[in-house]
């Protein structure tokens, strides 16, 4: 039985009055916006009826994935001219139509594409592309190319939607540090590496002592404080202890017959599946697969990574089907940039620009979206983007998450029909 976070709190931590678990930043948000949460939610539009169970999984391919050898323009002779040793032979490409096809390392994704569950958005980028990993990563995660912005687009989404009171777990960043996409002054998205470490104390070393201490800590933090930062920390600590309890239940309540790859990405997606199965109200997850900076000896490295991607996504989707949640999840990939059209002298590719994005899920409008960038009309050797990445974000925010994207992205961008 799926465990609902609010029910759990009422049941398991019954002594906590509902008002106690409302994190400070909800009130903060309302104060800053000078609106009640309800008003803020109304302003950005009512979400679709089933939107409350919808989940977005953002998957970063870190290092700059070579999109041209991922979604391969095998129908264009220029591709084979530009990449004498890197090009994938046409008979090995997994054809999507008579111009483009997927890397042979992505057979499972190809099968899902054929089943209409994969959208491929081609040529995604932005004006004046930046080829520095660091700056480009900031741009994709903040969705602000023009200037240095601190807050991330997913953080701004969580802040604006004020979806409920369990805000802290509404986003989870897999890994050691919280991804920039989630950054705001007010959201408290945690970074989780594995659920076993997400708790107070060391239960293996000393379970009783930890439990006594948690009880003492809860008791010590029962009353509100006058100093704002003390009160902020008091509430954040109580929420953290509650969240740790919830996550412990989530971990105990999950068993799967699906075999995930033992790779870090496979295990990240398995943890995400656990949390989704626990139904604690998390709206957005962020996971990372690194190693795509293939300046040298690209074929082996990229094939290994794409194989990991293929197997991990497939396991995750199978697990979602097992849980009958396949229509509630949308998984979206991105990379900080694509790579150059022409291969370099080290059998690799250098930093480039536009790239293809994958969207996977039971309610994704499958097929090819946007136009594949020309291989002849280049900007300093790089692809010219055909779809602005903020159009993709807008489409996801509006079509999938059911909110108006303008305020989150600071402007209106044409949307794509990515949701069936």
């Amino acid at each position: 039985m799926p465990l609902h976070r609010r029910d759990f709190l009422k049941r398991g931590v019954g002594l906590v009055a509902a008002s106690m678990v409302v994190p400070a930043f909800i009130a903060e948000t309302a104060r800053v916006l000078d609106l009640g949460p309800a008003v803020a939610a109304a302003q950005i539009g009512a979400p679709p009826a089933d939107a409350s169970r919808r989940v977005l999984v953002v998957l970063l391919l870190a290092g700059g994935n070579d999109g041209i050898n991922t979604v391969i323009p095998y129908g264009d002779p220029l591709y084979y001219q530009a990449r004498p040793t890197l090009a994938v032979p046409r008979e090995q490409v997994l054809h999507l139509n008579d111009m483009v096809g997927l890397s042979p390392a992505l057979p499972k994704l190809k099968a899902r594409f054929d089943a209409g569950q994969v959208a491929v958005v081609q040529g995604v980028g932005y004006p004046n592309p930046n080829r520095s990993h660091f700056r480009a990563m900031d741009i994709w995660q903040t969705a602000v190319p023009e200037r240095l912005e601190q807050t991330g687009w997913l953080g701004r989404y969580l802040q604006a939607c004020a979806c409920g009171t369990d805000k802290q777990l509404e986003g989870i960043s897999m890994g050691a540090t919280v991804q920039r996409s989630f950054w705001t002054e007010l959201t408290l998205v945690p970074a989780i590496s594995n659920l076993a470490a997400f708790r107070y104390g060391n239960p293996r070393a000393n379970p009783d002592a930890s439990q006594y201490e948690v009880e003492a800590l809860r008791r010590a933090l029962s009353q509100a404080r006058g100093r704002p930062e003390e009160e902020f920390l008091r509430q954040a600590t109580r929420t953290a202890l509650d969240d740790a309890d919830v996550m412990e239940q989530v971990a105990q309540g999950y068993q799967t017959s699906v075999e995930y790859p033992m790779s870090p990405l496979g295990q990240s997606l398995k943890t995400i599946a656990q949390v989704i199965a626990g139904d604690v109200g998390t709206r957005v997850f962020f996971a990372t697969l690194g190693g795509f900076d293939t300046h040298a000896n690209q074929p082996f490295q990229q094939q290994r990574l794409l194989t990991e991607l293929d197997g991990s996504i497939e396991a995750f989707m199978q697990d979602m089907e097992r849980l009958n949640r396949q229509n509630d999840v949308m998984l979206m990939t991105f990379s900080e940039f694509g790579r150059r059209v022409h291969q370099n002298a080290s059998n690799g590719t250098d930093h480039g620009t536009a790239e293809p994005l994958f969207m996977v899920g039971g309610k994704v409008q499958g097929g090819l979206h946007g136009a594949y960038p020309s291989l002849s009309d280049l900007d300093r050797g790089d692809l010219k983007y055909t779809t602005d990445f903020r159009s993709v974000y807008s489409s996801v925010l509006q079509g999938w998450m059911g909110v108006s994207p303008e305020q989150i992205l600071g402007g209106a961008y044409p949307t794509l029909p990515l949701v069936a």
Binding site: S132, L148, P190, A209, E229
Partner: protein
């Protein structure tokens, strides 16, 4: 009110202008009085320079620096070194060479309370900075504006106080600022643009040093730095008149950081109720502070992993803007991580890492639960706790036994909001 006695004021000072004191340090500084304590902190060259106890090539840069912070007799010098690292950032993941980051760290330490114009001149010649912001690719006819933009946006004026044309022109002034492969500054004359530039309304054949001087002397920079330093030491949202007052100190002293910092520490705002417990400890402040207060002999190697989990990898700031600070340190995972890291430190009490002194030595003779709780509160949070905090700690102490009692009291007290705050 919490800062109503000298000892509490001095403890507040040592947390902000340092990393929190040991009991002995607090005793010594309290004897000087608050004003005397400020004088000793800002005139740190009167205190001995503690020689390195560990080698960076053996323990890594992070532990090397953390160890300095734990053992320094010049806390403000290290605190300002940390400020500069978060302000004039560079990160190992792009710079690659740890020697360059170490040299940059020494540059910050040597100029911790130096003149800002001189600091800007020096950082534009720093091997790590040259790589971090791509100065070595900034050539006449093919400028790279990365350094020029961040110099104005983040290091001096702040966004909105310069134009895109200024960025182009400042980039031209810094053409030829380059480095050898091992990071030594070289001025490449052939790559420098000797022509006229117009920057912030002034025209001349400016080079990088001219720009550093011009920006350091700007009243806009004065306000920007006054505000940033005040936020670092006192509280996040300074009143405009406070910023104006400190900017005047900056301008009157031709950019003396020492003058500004001393003015902040001696200001009534610094010792006000608004400043007390108003800043959230950074992971560095949290870990170094705990090790100092508990009398640790060495920085445990696990500190590296801990810093990463808590969101502050030294020598690897997240981006050019440094760390967000304050509430951004806090989420469920980092909070639990903070408690567990501090818990692991407390678990070492009585062990060799903590100098081997028995746990009971920290108790100072207290025997009852209430007295022991008060003793731990005195050591960690100025003796200030709410009634339910006290009650919860006493109840815990009543049912816990042996050395675990005291370790548990330390763990719990360090998990309280008061201890997470500076």
């Amino acid at each position: 009110m919490a800062l109503d006695n000298e000892r509490a004021r001095v403890a507040h000072l040592l947390r902000r202008a340092g990393f929190g004191p040991s009991e002995q340090e607090l005793n010594e500084y309290t004897q000087l009085g608050f004003d005397g304590a400020v004088s000793r902190l800002v005139n740190y060259e009167t205190q001995p320079l503690v020689p390195d106890r560990v080698a960076p090539e053996e323990v890594g840069l992070q532990v090397w620096w953390l160890d300095k912070m734990v053992h320094t007799a010049r806390p403000l010098q290290e605190k300002m070194t940390l400020f500069w690292h978060g302000h004039l950032t560079s990160a190992l993941r792009k710079v690659k060479d740890p020697n360059l980051l170490q040299a940059q760290n020494e540059l910050f330490r040597a100029n911790a309370l130096g003149n800002y114009g001189e600091i800007l001149r020096a950082i534009s010649r720093d091997g790590a900075m040259i790589r971090w912001l791509d100065l070595q690719t900034n050539r006449k006819g093919a400028p790279n504006e990365n350094y020029a933009r961040e110099l104005m946006e983040l290091f001096t004026l702040g966004v909105g106080n310069y134009t895109e044309d200024d960025v182009d022109e400042v980039a031209r002034a810094f053409t030829g600022w380059s480095a050898t492969p091992d990071g030594q500054f070289v001025f490449r004359r052939m790559q420098h643009d000797f022509d006229q530039k117009t920057i912030l309304g002034q025209t001349g054949p400016f080079d990088g040093d001219d720009v550093s001087d011009m920006l350091a002397a700007s009243p806009t920079t004065a306000r920007y730095m006054a505000r940033k330093l005040f936020r670092y030491f006192a509280y996040p949202d300074p009143e405009p008149e406070v910023v104006g007052r400190l900017a005047d100190v900056y301008l009157a002293s031709s950019g003396s950081i020492k003058s500004v910092v001393e003015a902040i520490l001696r200001s009534p705002e610094f010792s006000s109720d608004r400043a007390y417990r108003a800043l959230i400890k950074s992971p560095t402040e949290l870990i170094v502070g705990a090790l100092r207060t508990l009398g640790a002999d060495a920085v445990p190697p696990q500190a590296v992993q801990a810093m990463r989990l808590l969101g502050q990898e030294l020598f690897n700031p997240p981006n050019v803007a440094g760390w967000f600070g304050n509430r951004s340190w806090i989420n469920a995972a980092t909070l639990l991580g903070r408690f567990n890291v501090l818990g692991a430190v407390a678990q070492q009490l009585g062990g060799p890492v903590m100098g081997g002194q028995p746990v009971t030595a920290l108790l100072d003779g207290s025997t009852t639960s209430a007295a022991r709780v008060q003793r731990v509160l005195d050591l960690l949070v100025d003796g200030e706790a709410s009634q339910e905090e006290r009650d919860a700690l006493v109840a815990y102490a009543d049912q816990a036994k042996g050395p675990q009692q005291l370790r548990g009291l330390f763990r719990l007290t360090m998990a309280l909001p008061a201890y997470q705050l500076n």
